[in-house]
């Protein structure tokens, strides 16, 4: 069964005497799952592609690079005896899509463009990934866009499913994302909007005036991420106590927990366990 205390740390010598065999298995397991262009052995043309776009906000073209990770087992500060320390993995989010988008997406985006003359500034990116449409929206235009999305008969996204915050500490300048899921019961469609704000200025307009059901969702996102929804009728904490310091779902907020001793072994708290990311 899963024993979190068993170290997978190659430099450490312990009761587990099967290290070489394990390493061989890890090679088998790991190498195919990493993108081929992420390893140093990748072809030169892919590498040339990757080098000029370091960590940071995604470029207008090509996939959005979230982070570059080195090594394999999350081990830092010990000699690299495994040989995997040179592995390099680039974390790429799905990039913007090109027309034709397919399905109902082209018509809907054309309709938005017809309704909003400044559609180019409103929608900064159109991403179609795994069959779902995501519109990245400039925050200052969010309210106008959702109003059109709800009210126009050809769009008619009358159903507000929820807003969920995501904190990307490495996405400099747009660390905090608010992800809205809208639904059109009339046309049986689903749409995702993604709005981002920098950590230094965590303000996003509230959509409560358009979707009253967004009330508690925005309060929760404020509570958990510190995103301030301007125009919300009473943006207070909802799940945490009123006097709680910090915003728990942010990546810089610790999970907490204590080590547990079991049959002489010390099992670290979940956030101090080996991370394979």
């Amino acid at each position: 069964m899963s024993d979190p205390s068993t170290p997978k740390n190659t430099p450490r010598d312990d009761s587990n005497g099967q290290q070489p065999g394990k390493d061989a298995e890890e090679t088998k397991d790991k190498v195919p799952s990493t993108p081929p262009d992420a390893t140093p052995e990748g072809g030169p043309e892919e590498r040339a592609d990757l080098e000029p776009t370091p960590t940071g906000p995604g470029s207008a073209q090509g996939p959005e690079i979230l982070a570059v990770r080195d090594g394999m087992f999350g081990v830092k500060g010990t000699p690299d005896t495994s040989g995997y320390g040179r592995l390099r993995r680039v974390i790429e989010f799905p990039g913007p899509s090109q027309r034709p988008y397919g399905s109902w997406y082209d018509a809907a985006i054309d309709r938005i463009a017809a309704l909003m003359p400044n559609a180019g500034q409103v929608i900064t990116r159109v991403v179609i990934d795994r069959g779902d449409l995501t519109l990245h929206v400039a925050r200052e235009h969010l309210l106008a866009l959702v109003k059109n999305l709800r009210d126009d008969a050809q769009l008619r996204f009358e159903f507000f499913s929820g807003v969920s915050g995501v904190h990307y500490p490495t996405d400099t300048g747009r660390e905090l994302h608010a992800v809205y899921h809208l639904g059109s019961m009339t046309h049986n469609r689903r749409l995702r909007l993604e709005v981002s704000a920098p950590d230094s200025d965590p303000h996003i307009p509230s959509v409560v005036s358009v979707y009253p059901g967004a009330d508690w969702h925005e309060r929760e996102t404020f509570d958990m991420f510190g995103l301030i929804f301007d125009g919300h009728p009473h943006l207070t904490r909802i799940l945490m106590p009123d006097d709680w310091p910090g915003h728990p779902q942010r990546k810089d907020y610790p999970l907490g927990g204590i080590d547990v001793e079991y049959k002489g072994a010390r099992i670290p708290s979940p956030e101090n366990r080996r991370s394979y990311n």
């Binding site: 069964m1 899963s2 024993d3 979190p4 068993t6 997978k8 099967q18 065999g21 394990k22 298995e25 890890e26 397991d29 799952s33 979230l66 993995r89 974390i91 790429e92 989010f93 799905p94 990934d129 795994r130 779902d132 995501t134 159903f159 507000f160 499913s161 929820g162 969920s164 915050g165 995501v166 904190h167 992800v179 899921h181 639904g183 019961m185 049986n188 689903r190 995702r192 979707y211 009253p212 059901g213 967004a214 508690w216 969702h217 929760e220 904490r237 909802i238 799940l239 945490m240 106590p241 009123d242 728990p248 779902q249 999970l255 979940p270 956030e271 366990r273 991370s275 394979y276 990311n277």
Partner: protein
């Protein structure tokens, strides 16, 4: 504090202007003090705190009611008393381990939580096409049992809150049969961690099909008692008819889904609108009512249970046809390595598997160890698959950064969303009807607070 009011504003922050006039703390106090205060006021206005430990608030829900006599003039809900950080915790576990957390969100419909999360993860992995037919049938069957069980709790506890304890005993008696089915199949009555990325934890036990048939027979025979007791019962009707009215316009504005929306006249059901897990292959109807009151919601839930029974009937026939098929994806990089089985002490690794990895195959042990401790990687991206849970639209917004753990999991819980409608249902009505309104919204605070 001995009183519900104070002349000092306890809620003003440092440096803030205190509110003018009387501040209502609603913290409880001595009844005599409250009566004395009220006597001096000369009107009927009173602020009452209800919960978080009130038995008819379905868990730890706190309501602050402003009353004029027995009429509710304002209602505010306070939630978060059961916040356990389920979403944060999943970020520190593997994709498979996270199921064991997610299942605990809405603990009255754990399998629906699991299904919503797992469908999103499978969408991220792009393995939806590889899920076997039998897996999908088992998932649908379990989800429908879950729907019946959840509705029975909603109706049973709702009845109990009205004082109709027989509705409760009938509801829980029938639910117990379903719990027995769950226990036989998953090893547990609740918090199953049964539906996992790639499939389900284990196939039906040897006597599974017979058990399903027996339970169906017994439910079909005895569940009608609930309708017979309640449907035309004048006491039930006088408490429910015309109470807690939420019409279609209000439902749409507030984003209300599930049985509440269908009781207001819109036959929107995600099992039909955006089918998942092969729901498009089953024959069932969507019960709709137009009244939009508590009685319509009550009756609609009963009708939905019978539609679920219809679906399970079809599932049993299909399970018979697909015996022997895998219930986990045929991809050793994702599939849980052990064939789990149900022992006398619950779910565990099968003895054959333990014998194999401990005594016969070093490689199998390594493979098992890698997948169990490290898990599998999920390509970066995000997914949200809406599902029709017992209470309405339930979906998990899942974000992956390409690692072995979720980057972010957010459960869009229907109870959380629907509780927002409670003031709209209750304000202007009687205080006794607040209890009815909560019962017919059917919130479960484990899901609301997560």
């Amino acid at each position: 504090m001995t009183s519900t009011t104070s002349d000092q504003d306890l809620f003003a922050g440092q440096g803030e202007e205190p509110a003018e006039g009387t501040v209502y703390t609603a913290m409880g106090g001595d009844w005599d003090d409250i009566v004395t205060e009220q006597h001096d006021r000369g009107d009927e206005r009173i602020v009452v705190n209800m919960g978080p430990q009130h038995p008819s608030t379905h868990g730890v829900l706190r309501l602050i009611l402003e009353l004029d006599g027995e009429t509710v003039t304002e209602l505010r809900s306070s939630i978060g008393h059961l916040h356990t950080g389920i979403e944060k915790n999943t970020e520190f576990r593997t994709w498979t381990q996270a199921v064991a957390f997610i299942t605990r969100a809405d603990y009255v419909m754990p399998l629906h939580n699991e299904l919503a999360y797992v469908l999103s993860v499978e969408k991220l992995l792009e393995i939806e096409d590889q899920i076997t037919e039998r897996t999908k049938i088992i998932r649908v069957m379990m989800a429908e049992w879950m729907r019946i069980a959840s509705h029975l709790v909603a109706l049973g506890t709702g009845g109990m809150e009205l004082g109709a304890t027989t509705i409760m005993t009938v509801g829980f008696r029938e639910r117990e049969k379903i719990m027995d089915v769950f226990e036989a199949i998953t090893g547990l009555r609740m918090n199953h961690a049964y539906i996992r990325p790639g499939g389900v934890a284990n196939d039906l036990p040897d006597h599974g099909l017979q058990l399903l048939k027996d339970t169906l027979k017994s439910i079909k025979k005895q569940m009608p008692e609930l309708s017979k007791l309640a449907n035309a019962n004048p006491i039930v009707k006088s408490r429910l008819v015309g109470v807690g009215h939420l019409d279609l316009t209000a439902c749409m504005a507030l984003g209300v889904t599930g049985p509440i929306l269908r009781a207001a006249g819109y036959d929107y059901d995600l099992r039909k609108a955006l089918p998942y897990s092969g729901y498009e292959d089953y024959e069932f109807d969507i019960p709709v009512r137009d009244e939009g009151d508590s009685y319509a919601r009550f009756r609609n839930r009963i009708d939905e249970m019978w539609e679920s029974v219809r679906i399970i009937d079809q599932c049993v026939a299909r399970l018979e046809e697909t015996q022997g098929q895998r219930v986990m994806i045929d991809d050793p990089k994702i599939a849980w390595p052990a064939q789990l089985s149900i022992g006398s002490d619950g779910q565990g690794n099968s003895n054959e598997h333990l014998k194999h990895i401990m005594g016969q195959s070093m490689e199998s042990l390594i493979h098992h160890f890698k997948l169990v401790t490290e898990g599998f990687r999920v390509p970066p991206g995000q997914a949200y698959v809406p599902t029709e849970s017992a209470k309405g639209e339930l979906g998990a917004h899942v974000v992956s950064d390409g690692g072995t753990k979720p980057f972010r999991v957010h459960l869009r819980d229907p109870s959380f969303h629907h509780l927002q409608a409670l003031p709209a249902l209750s304000e202007g009505g009687m205080i006794a009807d607040v209890v009815v309104n909560i019962a017919t919204i059917d919130p479960v605070l484990g899901g609301v607070d997560r």
